[in-house]
Amino acid sequence: MLRERFLRTGMVWSMWVLGIVGSVGTAMASKKDNTLNIAWEKELETLDLYYNTAREGIIVSHLIYDTLFYRDPKTNEYLPLLATSYKWIDDTTMEIKLRTGVKFHNDEVFDADDVVFTINYVTNPDNKVLVQQNVAWMERAEKTDSTTVRIYLKRPFPAALEYLSNYVPIYPNEYYSKVGSKGFGAKPIGTGPYKVQQVEPGKSIVFVRNESYFKDGPKGYPSIEKIVQRTIPEVNTKLAELITGGLDWVWQVPPDQMEKLAKVPHLRVIPAETMRVGFLYMDASGRSGPNPFQKLEVRRALNHAIDREAMAKKLVGGQSRVIHTACFPTQFGCTDEGAMRYEYNPDKAKSLLAQAGYPDGFEVDLYAYRERPYAEAVVGYLKAVGIKANLQFMQYAAMRDKWHAGKASLGYWTWGSYSINDCSAITGYWFKFGPDDYARDEQVKEWLELADATVDPQKRKEYYGLALRRIAEQAYWVPLFSYVSNYAFHKDLEFEPHPDEVPRFYKAKWRF
């Protein structure tokens, strides 16, 4: 009797285990189903781009919505997407012709009313769009006819196309007015290459291909039929899922895991270059009080003291490269042509220090907030030329507060330019007398203001060139290198990362 009972229990257990094993197999069929399983760490509170600040929000936005223009991530050329053409009426008025025959996912027809509604809605301060800098440069929009709109700017804003290409998705006016931001965030409707089939807030989003998506647009008709996104906060769990086939694509993989993943036969890893650059900023203007960096020779000495090539290749790795000026190379206006270059030469650094009156070097606090090994490498290089840098490693907010309060003379900073491919997104922040500007150079500021306020591309390039050359010549920074972001995905997936860190899944496809 007892034995019989034991046997029965045993059978139930084995069946349960078998059932479990069976259910694992189902997760591994994504290529066959033309489905892509992806994961990221952050929960998204809403799918309404104007009310979330996460980078993942931009990824989702690219899938569901379309913008008026599209920046080709390879050529960085602005191509019309929901627009067909545009012209500047004057420095603050842009006239845009719109694409016809486009429908939203709910069959609402796309026309000028949707563009006018979206822009007037997001520029209305009462609606409290979260990232104001994405929209606050526009005054309002006006319909000229059903396929033409005019956007009025508050002031000349040369980076308009960059913002219109990334941060101003067009919403359906009728639907949005009906459901409001809350309803829209839960059940979003756009004209984009993917429709949202299911949302479990913060947990998962299922996208299905928009079968009626226009084929002649720069985004192209998507190849993958279904994308299943999951939120997985623990990185080890995420990687375990990737290794076992539960996921096909992940990003932001910690560098120490990349080598291990590269050895997994069915995976491909790419340490792809991003727009984020690292640099040392020295207090040339004496905001923190009298300090050695007020002398040009000292600033130049630091530029000669650090082997940036070695750091980029050996420490950062992947596609990282050395930068020579205060911007990321693909950004509009960024150039290092004619800019002073500082080769790695510790002896020259020492003699410059001696010239400045520091033959035995000096002691300084180096503030840093991320990638401690990089900051430690800098400490090592500085030590080799006689500068004793005490590393003060802290959280970003704490370091920023110290910097703003003028309590630091040397900082290891990084800047991602919010992925905006325009020089204004970096130089405007660090050299236009804002709270982070430690150069305080009137001449640089004047050139940057001219560059930021003219619509003529040629003139802009000229002014940025002048400013960047002066920044290099005065050695306000030690520009270091570009950062990389680590992607890992199934080797049968055709996927290309770009420096703006917006994965374009509508361009991805499975190799059959």
């Binding site: 285990v17 479990i20 694992v24 997760a27 479990e200 947990k203 623990e234 375990a240 076992t244």
Partner: protein, 305 residues
């Protein structure tokens, strides 16, 4: 008995009140709720506007009384992140956490009770020590680490179990083991102690002299009585399971209340954190109360003391 139960209930209510008050105050000390509500790019004026609008400029005690009044009416407020009613968010996520907690407790009992019984049958032998070692290992290992080790072995190497999520029962196996293993030693020790006491009692000696088989004595007579205190301990452990799920849910990407708590703390979503702390403490206090009453029912001596 009634007086005892009422006294315990009153005590439980006082504890629940104290927990809610302390957690309310601590959470407000940990960060500025107005800044969290206003969002990342808010200016100082925006934050001040929000502070006034939501009454966050009033004394903490007034805010607490306001909140307590709302809670008594069943309103837990609105999440500053999801912009949704906290009650509906919790309702969405509670099921999965209760399932995980329940399964973890089952695991703890299934391992702890047999090990305890075994240890009692062979006290102070290598069997006893081995059983103790197995159980204590559960308490010694950090649960997140044990979870990750299981992921590597059972998920990645052997590919026996799904790694993350909560779609099927299979998804709960690893997290339930990771969570339940922690509670095993307590259950094991109590079972062992209970069994040792019971096994030396007169009615067991009678059963032996009646010629009953050792299995019958062990399971039918001894264990049944030895388990009484274990049942009340298990109910308290269930409260621990719910609290411990914060870590385990994060490791296994199970979107339950624990994971919600962790994420809400990270983004300073105070209404949600506050509601979760309150809910978990009420469950815990409730389970303790249940255990006390249960014990008193079974053992009249407790009522007297």
């Amino acid at each position: 008995m009634m007086a005892f139960a009422l006294k315990r209930l009153l005590l439980a209510l006082v504890v629940a009140f104290a927990v809610s008050l302390i957690s309310f105050m601590l959470l407000r000390l940990a960060g500025d709720p107005a800044a969290a509500l206003a969002g990342e790019s808010a200016s100082a004026e925006d934050i001040e506007f929000v502070r006034k609008k939501y009454g966050l400029d009033r004394p903490l005690i007034v805010q607490y009384l306001d909140w307590a009044q709302m809670v008594l009416k069943g309103d837990l407020g609105e999440s500053s992140f999801f912009k949704k009613d906290v009650r509906s968010i919790l309702a969405d996520r509670l099921g999965v956490t209760l399932t995980l907690g329940g399964l973890a407790l089952c695991f703890a009992a299934l391992v702890g009770i047999p090990l305890g019984a075994l240890a009692a049958v062979r006290p102070n032998t290598w069997v006893d020590r081995a059983a103790l070692a197995i159980a204590v290992m559960g308490q010694a290992m950090p649960s997140f680490w044990f979870g990750l080790i299981m992921i590597i072995v059972l998920g990645v190497k052997l590919r026996l179990l799904p790694i993350s999520g909560s779609e099927t029962w299979a998804h709960f196996v690893m997290p339930a083991i990771a969570l339940g293993y922690y509670a095993t030693p307590a259950i094991m020790r109590l079972t062992r102690a209970g069994m040792l006491e019971v096994l030396s009692s007169d009615y067991i000696r009678t059963a032996v002299s009646k010629g009953l088989s050792p299995w019958q004595i062990l399971f039918k007579h001894a264990l049944r009585n030895a388990l009484i205190p274990v049942v009340s301990l298990a109910s308290v452990q269930f409260g621990f399971m719910l609290g411990g799920s914060v870590v385990i849910e994060t490791v296994f990407a199970i979107h339950g209340v624990g994971f919600l708590a962790w994420e809400s703390i990270r983004r300073s979503d105070l209404p949600v954190v506050q509601a979760i702390v309150l809910m978990l403490s009420l469950i815990y206090v409730g389970l303790n109360l249940l255990a006390d009453v249960l014990n008193a029912l079974l053992d009249p001596r407790i009522r007297v003391h």
